[in-house]
Symmetry: D3
């Protein structure tokens, strides 16, 4: 897999590290966000034995500076000015495309861990909001930038923020001001689950430990857990319980269950060789 | 704008301070809650350049003691006793009216910041639950009073509480006991986002800083952010993303975006003169 | 009421203490989870003056070790292997049955307080997730065990976890790893609302204080509050407000309201004798 | 009750006849649609013993020609052109106002019967779609006019059409072409439930028979039936069943039930004198 | 299976005929509706090879006269009058119980065909609304009786009526008047799919042909179709499509598919011996 | 645009005719359904001035025979048998892909008219269910084939059928039997809106008249109408009204509205030259 703006490596079996890598500050132009979405969708579909992905930045001081202005220029062509309704349709289609790319990690069957450090700004918040787990280096600084651009954020921050955190008052305050907030503020809000003392290396290191732990589990069980948690987020308890029963009616027929149960009894769980989620034929 | 039980002042451009002001403890009789709703609805509809509102109390020791008993007497007329079904219809209509008044801040296009101090009791919790941001003075004391009155709270506390906070166990415990809790408890629960050392003056001062910060932003962007956050609270992520794209297809055609982007480049954002949200014709 | 695996006592008027009591570690076989659901459903339907229930374990070192392997054996009969679709239907029906039993506390008209201590593993987490309030002894240790068994949890943990807590990143991390976490972690996550220094006796003691406080309130008001909070969890604010108005249109006709208001005025609330929720005819 | 554009008479006890009456073709300018909504809302709130309303037109040849062009002019002020986003907010608020007025019959506690004749065009279809029952004279002609104006209908036709009828293919065809269709087509589609041979007098006469029949019933039962049907339209069967149980828990305590049951036994149902829905105190 | 008020026979392999049989007019007292629900739930759970059920009446002139007055008497005990709120809770629980019994056919994994004749009144309409298919003899007469009793129907008629038919105007008209309507009216409304000339024998005969046709199909496919249609009724198209994919991911692993495909090729489909839905172990 | 199995022509300005064209009976193998979806998605995205599409078959005697058996073979690879859970995931992904292709007409901004003739079987019903308008030649014959294959239909028939028609009893009967039904039955059910005497030529001719009529309208208005109708199908009336107001807040700013209004006044609507929906830049 080749990628222009995203460095991909495998620091451990079944684990990938994706580093955003567009100089100088990981600003997202059209090419970059399309590549971002395509990368995750390709991993979801074609790679058969990834069990966890870490998302980080190649630049210690900045995770992402957000949307590149070029993204907006697309909307400003002179000819479009001839009709606000047609311009709205084009804009709407563009926003849907950006959203689809940025929420690609949700479509992955494996957990995506955002290991952030340095500046996390604007689209950077959209990006980490669509990941499963968020760890921050103590040097990280966050800002929901959109308001300073005269915009309501539209690639996921507003959709996710009130759900993934535990204090609407603080979440709205940060959304209404676009002010910078620290890793500790992010932890208080519930936006991240862990602050790691240090910078890029430190947070990626801790994320890697988590990824390795996940990689030892049955991929059937992990992908089901992710799928059902996302369903639970968006449905009532009763609706989710019934869906879970339907989902698991196939999933518990997996041989992974028997292997895991046996391993649990013999305490040798690291030795289990689970089948890939999508075995090659 | 004249108001009998609510003092209105403008401590800063585009910012209003509303102080609940019915002696001696801001108990809400029918006239008061109707005026409360009407005040916010009038601000939403007829005033064209408000960008943030602070809600506080004129009395340092008490934000609000909750519903006045007169509100209940209305339901107890002798003649109504002749038929429980008709009495239920009348009661239902009355509750819907109270709810409509108390949730008026949600219908405002600008953020409403509750700056609470002293006692916040019963309907007082309903009131702040429907605001955008909640700050508490360190002297504030809270109680979901309804249960002590033999009632389930019905003007918004139960509707909002589990959503705006981050610990259902604590939220339910407070709802089932009506016990008093402190500002620090409120912060732990996620009911408020900040505890300000001191009393009324201190918390209103800090709320004013936040209001001023919001007042510098594009009113198109702030009102869109509020609208989309409220939509996100009540819809799935997928549903909200599509709605957001539709909403922004018109909103990003605003000139505010270009002005804000330019200001961002020249670092002079305080000097931007955004148009009012509802320009006078 | 007789029960094989659950000890039932009444430490205080209107309060029951239920202790899980299947040696050695409260592992749930089919008989046990059926009895668990039936016990709560019986309390809901036939007992007319219970106002709060505490759920704990008879064994200081372990609240519950989760599902007994026998539960899984049911699914593995040789004859079932003849058709995966029929096997799926049977499995689905079994999961729905387990879910129905484990969520029985939600169907009770009174609050259920989980007072946990020692190990809380697998189905143990499902069980406490469906309770109203969760208190933990400082010696409690938690693990969403399912993943180690090659399974996605399906009796309520995934359905409840993101809703009842305030940090999706942490909740997912715990779900993806099945790692042990402490009482303090549970408090940070928002899974419990209080950590009580000590073990079984300490946490049950504090839960008992809460239960007594609840038992002083009007059962009409407490059961309405529980019903409306559960509705609020699963519906939009607007939908819940209208439902609340409909519900309360009958509930406020209760005499409890007048008695509670009068008691509030005379400060003698402990002396109120509320009618049972389901008076005997 | 005075009304400029709507003639109000009472052809039978508890029954009102409302006739749209703005010359020459019942085109709706701003004043007219506001009055339309206000009239129904006033009837809902302040009149205590109306049990059925018939909606018709004062002009035999035309029920309504739809929106008056003046309604659109409001949106075209020169000053508004300065910002498409602000213009969109103003337009949105205007559409919401029109929708709120046109759907007023849904908020009435009594059934509203549209007795249509002659041309029923554009907003005319929105209007009848929000009524409970639709009867058409054989001379009636219908057109969802909006598309011919370069618009998607937005005051209720699109919201209601697929739900209230039984053939999506036909409904969409009529929406995509704005073509005229006859009373018989309307019956086939399911838009009306009866075609009455003749014109205005004939259809109003038959509607009056229906209104009189409804007026004999308990107003508690009729208003409950309407409320629950509207709820059923917009919710799942399970959700509606639970809501119905909650609603009826108060409604079946009505004395009307006993009176109706007794009357049923003595076959004298026309003689029952039910209390008004909102008895005067 | 023994039943006091329901005659059960098997006119054809895999097909049951259930005849309501409480003299003289199939009025439903408490015992009868409890037995009705229990009968269907028992068939669903314990009988492993039923593929279609026909529901009819033992009395040619009457399908059902609806609720017996005794059902209401339960709600009128003198002692209950002491508190309207407690009375409401008891009433609500009773209505939920009736609903649960009457909707039991929805929980069956096989289609239930209502073959109605003679009078179908009140609860009779609730009953057939929860069946899969409705056939009427030409002598059938229908009335949504509830309104004549001073009640809004609450055991399913209002929940189902607007969904299962194709003309809201007609459906509401019939609900608001409780007037008698004929088999032909029921066909026009869409309440039944076929009118069979004659009476009880004729309609049961035609229903039996349908049942036999269904009994030839794979029970995995038929029960899946029913389950997915009920899901589709209550969910959006997108939500249902995803659920369908999840459901079928197990169902298409059935051997029935291969047997049916092979039989399709050899034109011998009547000879397929599908496994029971719940094979005995 | 080249296509292997779909013939594309333009019988009239802004109108396309798509003819399914895989010999001998339009059975859908993997290549065909992928091409089907891709064709519509390409038309939606890249072609800027299509205003209506007619879908028909190149073979007079058969519209489509449904899914080709090869589609199923994909699921039966020997290696997959090693684990039912992994096999379920693969199957689920395949079904989602088929669904996505078959529902492609819903994603088009223009109406798609199915003009069917001859046999319409299995996947053929899924296909026409996702179109906007359905016309049938009098020689058409329909069968929801899935059940005869031992399957519940999963590419849209079950999701759409109860919504787009007006008689659940009939719809379920056809789904449970897979029996053949005629054009007239389809009209009664509400599955088609018109039966055209004759065969392929006749029905395509009438569909073409409809397409031409649609092609005269503003593409902004037609695409908005389609978008809002689809939203209305899947949301409550209240939810749809608010969405419609948001959508139209941009759409009514279109110049099409003014052109259409002017044309309406001068009766020359055929002469309006609306801009393409997606003007080339």
């Amino acid at each position: 897999m080749q990628s222009k703006y995203i460095s991909i490596s495998s620091p451990s079996p079944h684990v990938l590290l994706l580093e955003l890598n567009r100089k100088p500050v990981n600003a997202f132009n059209t090419e970059f966000w399309k590549e971002y979405g395509r990368t995750f969708d390709t991993l979801s579909t074609h790679h058969d034995d990834i069990r966890a992905v870490i998302l980080s930045s190649a630049f210690p001081k900045i995770f992402s500076a957000g949307l590149d202005f070029q993204g907006l220029n697309q909307l400003g062509g002179k000819d479009l000015l001839i009709d606000p309704a047609r311009r709205a349709l084009l804009t709407r289609a563009l926003i849907l495309d950006v959203q689809h790319a940025i929420t690609a990690p949700e479509r992955c069957p494996f957990p995506v861990i955002a290991a952030v450090h340095g500046g996390v700004v604007g689209l950077g918040i959209d990006i980490i909001s669509a990941c499963d787990v968020r760890y921050a280096a103590s040097d990280a600084k966050f800002s929901i930038k959109a308001l300073d651009m005269g915009l309501a954020a539209d690639a996921g921050t507003l959709a996710h923020l009130l759900k993934i955190t535990g204090n609407h008052s603080l979440a709205r305050e940060l959304a209404y001001t676009s002010r910078m907030f620290s890793s500790d503020d992010a932890l208080t809000l519930g936006l991240v689950s862990r602050v790691v003392e240090g910078g890029r290396e430190a947070v990626v290191g801790v994320a890697l430990q988590l990824a390795r732990e996940i990689a030892l589990k049955s991929p059937i069980a992990v992908s089901g857990t992710k799928h059902l948690l996302l369903h639970a987020r968006d449905h009532s308890v009763a609706e989710n319980l019934e869906y879970t029963a339907t989902w698991n009616s196939a999933a518990v027929q997996s041989k992974d269950l028997h292997e895991a149960v046996n391993a649990g009894m013999t305490k040798s769980k690291e030795a289990i060789k689970f089948l890939p989620l999508k075995p090659k034929l």
